[in-house]
């Protein structure tokens, strides 16, 4: 693995400190299907479908933990039957998405939920 050790990034006209790039990039993301599969992700070790009647709870576990629980999760859902209702920060390495999904046979292939994590790594 190679390392660039630079203080600033520039496109020839505008220059920004690399701290803006490092601190501003997403530290984790996941694209979750309700058919119990993960379509794409970064820094996620597992997702747990905790079930329940609506809303369902999905717990995301990160491989490289955040420094504290004051990180930020942005979560969305597509499919007309899915809604992200709230995020619960359970620890520096896990958070829960409460997602309203329709518990029906057809929901097993739809109701896609996604989330991104910003903040400081441990």
């Amino acid at each position: 693995m190679s390392t660039l050790n630079v203080a600033n990034v520039t496109d020839g006209t505008t220059s920004v400190p690399t701290g803006y790039v490092v601190n501003g990039s997403a530290k984790a993301f996941n694209h979750l299907n309700s058919n119990l599969s993960v379509a794409n992700s970064l820094n996620i070790s597992s997702c747990t479908d905790e079930g329940g009647s609506a809303p369902n709870t999905w717990s995301m576990n990160m491989t490289s933990a955040m420094d504290n629980t004051n990180y930020v999760v942005t979560s969305t859902a597509d499919d007309n039957a899915a809604r992200v209702l709230s995020i619960v920060y359970t620890s520096s390495s896990a958070y829960k998405s409460h997602v309203y999904v329709t518990n029906s046979p057809s929901s097993s292939t739809g109701n896609v939920a996604h989330s991104t994590v910003h903040g400081d790594l441990a």
Partner: protein, 143 residues
């Protein structure tokens, strides 16, 4: 110098194909007997990193870090990476990392509250998702 775990994960994602595990972990929380069974889904990029080796830290660093207060330095980001695992070893690693020790280590009851099962045994019909329980019958797995 060991690269930060996040950097190793980003590098692994760029060079390794994701691996969809053929296993799921079913578990129940003994503290919430009325709650439905949970289903842990291994992340495909995590599985790829575990099977390739030299990315993930030793599991005991995560367990020790659970008692480290927020804001204090944690051990797992800069721990020496472990070698390649089998898929079964990677699932056991995930159980210890992402499931409470009260379920996989401390529970002494007679009820089976955790099972590692092939993915095809998880029901695809979520009609009764709020009532899924781990079957207590021998060789019978799902809800």
């Amino acid at each position: 110098m060991i690269a930060h775990l996040w950097d190793r994960l980003a590098d692994a994602k760029a060079r390794l194909d994701p691996v969809q595990s053929k296993y799921r972990v079913l578990f129940e929380n003994p503290a919430e007997p009325e709650a439905p069974a949970s289903v842990l889904v291994p992340d495909p990029n995590f599985m790829a990193a575990a099977l390739a080796g030299d990315v993930l830290p030793p599991i005991d660093t995560y367990i020790r870090d659970q008692s480290v207060p927020d804001g204090q330095p944690k051990e797992h980001p800069y721990a020496e990476p472990v070698g390649a695992m089998t898929e079964e070893e990677a699932i056991e690693y995930l159980v210890m990392k992402d499931i409470s020790p009260s379920i996989w280590r401390d529970y002494n009851g007679n009820r089976t509250i955790m099972k590692i099962v092939p993915v095809e045994l998880i029901p695809s019909d979520r009609s009764f998702r709020n009532a899924w329980k781990i079957s207590q019958a021998e060789q019978e797995i799902a809800a």
